[in-house]
Symmetry: C2
Subunit: 135 residues, 2 copies
C-alpha cells in the first residue's frame, strides 16, 4: 500500500510538473502550517543546501513564499500560497473522495480497529528507523 501510495504521489507530481520530493514537501508545509527551512531539513533528511534549492524551486513556481520570522530573524518561514496550490489539491481530490467512500463501508468499530493497527505499524517503522539512524 505504501508503494501504491508513492506511485499515486509520483503521478500527481508528474502532472503538476514538479519533482516528487517537491510535492512531498509542499504537502508537509500544508499540513504543518508555515514551517522553517530547518523543519524541512528534518522532515526530508536533506542537507541545508538542498533545502535552499527546494524552496527556491517552489517559490519560483509561486507555490510558496519566503518570509522572515519576526521572533528569530535568522529563520526563514515558508508559507503556502493557497490560490497557487488549488489545482494541485484538485488532483488529489478524487483519491480523497474514494478513500472516504471506502471507509464508509466500514462500521466505526471496524475503522477504529484498522486505525489502531495503522498507528501501531507506523510507530514500529518510525522506531526502527530511529534505531538504524542512531546505533
Amino acid at each position: 500500500m505504501g508503494a501504491a501510495s508513492a506511485l499515486h504521489s509520483q503521478a500527481v507530481a508528474k502532472r503538476v510538473g514538479i519533482a516528487s520530493v517537491d510535492l512531498e514537501c509542499l504537502d508537509m508545509i500544508l499540513l504543518a502550517g508555515p514551517v522553517t527551512a530547518g523543519q524541512i531539513m528534518e522532515h526530508t533528511k536533506l542537507t541545508s543546501g538542498a533545502v535552499t534549492g527546494l524552496i527556491d524551486r517552489l517559490a519560483r513556481k509561486g507555490y510558496v513564499e519566503r518570509a522572515a520570522d519576526p521572533q528569530d530573524r535568522r529563520k526563514v518561514v515558508v508559507r503556502i500560497v493557497p490560490e497557487a496550490i488549488r489545482p494541485i489539491l484538485e488532483l488529489f481530490a478524487p483519491m480523497a473522495e474514494r478513500s472516504a467512500a471506502l471507509m464508509r463501508q466500514y462500521s466505526v468499530e471496524e475503522l477504529e480497529l484498522i486505525a489502531d493497527f495503522v498507528e501501531k505499524g507506523t510507530e514500529l517503522a518510525l522506531e526502527r528507523a530511529r534505531e538504524l539512524e542512531g546505533g
Copy 2:
C-alpha cells in the same frame, strides 16, 4: 504509514550505503525473481539510460548479476546474488519480526478485515495513478 515505511527504507539504504531507489529496485528483483532491465524501467518509471546506470551500480557492488536471456538475447536478465544481500536482509529482519508480533495480537477475522481494507486501498491508489498517467 506510507511515509513511515519510506523513512524506514531510507534508513536501511543509508546503513547499506546505497540510494533508496537502488534498494527499492533490489527488493523488487528479490520479490519478482530474475527480471529484465525493461521490467525495472516499468516498475521504477525511470528511462532506459537511468536503469542501465542503476544495474551498473548494483552489479559493481556485487548485489546482482547480469545474464543474457537465452530466449531473447536482446534482453538482459538481472539476478540477485543471495550471499551478497544477506546483510541487507538482516537489517530488515527486526522490522519484519516486530510486524509479525503486532499481527499476532489480532484474531484471524480481524486480520482479514485489515488485509481487505489494505488491498482495497492499494487498488484505489493504483487505479487513480493509472488515471493520472493516462488521461
